[in-house]
Structures are given as C-alpha cells and as structure tokens.
Symmetry: C2
C-alpha cells in the first residue's frame, strides 16, 4: 500500500466550517512530539533518511514509537521504506541512541485534529513554530496511486483550498529551512 | 543497586539434587535468544559496549527487549551503564538497526531454570554451543557489594561447586573465543 498525501498552509477556522457543512466525521485530536536524530556515521540530510522517536498522546494515553525512514524510492508518491515499532519507554531509547553516538537534531511538535471525509483523512495540523496546515491523505494500491492523488486534490478543492499551494517539504524540513 | 553474580561450569543433575535437598524454590524456566550487533562506526569489542535484542519466552508468552550495555565502570563488580526497554516487535528493530548499518554479529540461545535460595537467585543455564553453567546472583547497595559477593560464593559452596572455578567471560565472549 502507498500513502498518498497532499499538504497546504491554511487557516483552520474556514476549513473547520467547510468540514462541518460537508458532514465530515471527527476522529479526535492528538498531540505528537517528534524527536529526530543525527547519526554519528552518516549525514541523514544527504542520505535522505530519518530516525525518529514519536510520543503521541490524547488526553492521558500516551504511546511512543521509534521509526526509521529510508530514502525516497519514488518522488511523486513520496514512498519510503519504513520500520516502525512501539517501545516501552521512549526516554530509554533516547539514552540508548545517545550512548551510540546519535544526537538529538530537531523536535517537531504538533496538534493534529482529524476528520474523515469521503474515505479520505483530513488533518488540521498546528505545528509549533510553523503555524496551521491542512493535510489530506489516503492509502492506495500501486495501480490506484494516480486516482488517489486526484482524489486528494478534489477534497482540498471541496474544502476551499488550492491543490497548487501544495507543500512537499516535511515539517522537519520547513523548520530546518527557517533556522 | 549493583548486580553481583558468579558463574561456573557445572553438571546440572547434581546441582538440581542439592537445590531440592536445600528446599530451594523453583522460579520456572525461560528461553532467551540474544541477538548481538556490530556497529558501523565503532568496534564494540574494543569499546566494550554491546547492543542486543533479547527475545524471552516461557510457554507461549514472549517478550522482546532492546538493550545497550556500556563499558565496565568497575571491573570487580562488573558494573555497566545499561539502557533497556521493551519493544513491540523485535524483528522491526532488527530491520531498523540493519538499515542504519548495524550488523547481526552473534546469537546466544539459552534455557534458564531459576531457583530462589537464601535470598539469592540460582540459575541453571544450558547455553547452545557451550553447555551447562550455574549462576548465583543478587542485588546489593554499593556498601554491601563485598558481603554479597561472599554470599554468592557461600551459595556456590552449598551447592557443591567451587567459587575458584568462576568464569568472568560472558557467554557471548565464550562463544566468540570458540570461533
């Protein structure tokens, strides 16, 4: 399965109203804190890899996962090899990585308010230091990636947003650009 | 707290009989599979570090933990900095480590039959490729390490074993020596 997603900057208030008019189903809100690492033996910016610990919480419940993202294998669909698993204690993984020479590089913190609309997930992200974004995403078989991409553009349009405003840079990338 | 342990080669049958005579309490048997890794940027043999995924199972239940062990900070008590946490899926951690350039170096598989005796844990280890060992261990405050060490020797003697036969090399070290 491929993840197809499109992201634009957008004021949330107007989008929330449109979601309400369109009877989108609320999926709740979570907070994600992402801790990205630099490797001692590779330049991840150059190799286009990422190593991350994510702490996700929604009132009370928290879960921590560690994720490796490999380089893009296909630019247009933003497909990557990904290895991800839950860990018992993220701080211990942080200490383990530090002991191995991996260094905390950047933190991305965001509030994600999710809705379901026509089989797509619409996410209203408030990203610390960056502002408000809207993401539309879905999963598709390889054969349906193009159709799915057009679908995400249609949903954006329905929400009063312009697919041409698409931002392909990750939040981490945007934060690092700002530095 | 410090972990104080002593390990000798020993035939299990005679030790099991002594444990029975001494009314030792059985703590059950577990199987441990330890997967050790080489680092891409350091020689762990030289730096005296270790990175391990352990899969521990006792009839049906299995748990996987990832562990980093730092160099010995004190040789006599074998004290090390250790970072250890449960992971959701050990194979995913293996793939994540492989993607980062860590390579599977050695596997240590053992059956551990545990007993409690006079506040000490006595473990009868059958280590694949190495044979039968008995370990006696306890935890102690810094001030009590010496007394605890003498205690482990006393327990060994009670079991008909000789503290002078102590082996300080880890199972991993013994397996690598054999190669």
């Amino acid at each position: 399965m491929y993840e197809v997603e499109v992201k634009v900057r957008a004021d949330h208030e107007a989008v929330r109203e449109r979601l309400h008019e369109l009877d989108a189903r609320s999926l709740g809100t979570v907070t994600q804190e992402d801790f990205y690492y630099d490797a001692p033996h590779r330049d991840f910016a150059e190799t286009d890899e990422a190593l991350r610990i994510r702490r996700e919480s929604d009132d009370g419940d928290a879960e921590e996962v560690v994720t490796y993202k490999g380089p893009l294998v296909e630019r247009e669909s933003k497909t990557r090899k990904e290895h991800e698993t839950v860990v018992g204690d993220g701080e211990t993984v942080d200490r383990l990585l530090s002991a191995l020479g991996f260094e905390a590089a950047a933190t991305v913190t965001k509030e994600r308010e999710r809705y379901e609309l026509d089989g797509y997930v619409v996410t209203l992200d408030v990203v610390a230091g960056l502002g408000e974004f809207v993401e539309v995403e879905t999963e598709a078989d390889e054969a349906d990636v193009e159709r799915a991409r057009i679908g995400t553009y249609d949903v954006l349009s329905e929400l009063g947003l312009n697919p041409n405003d698409q931002i392909r840079t990750s939040y981490l990338g945007l934060l690092l650009e700002d530095e």
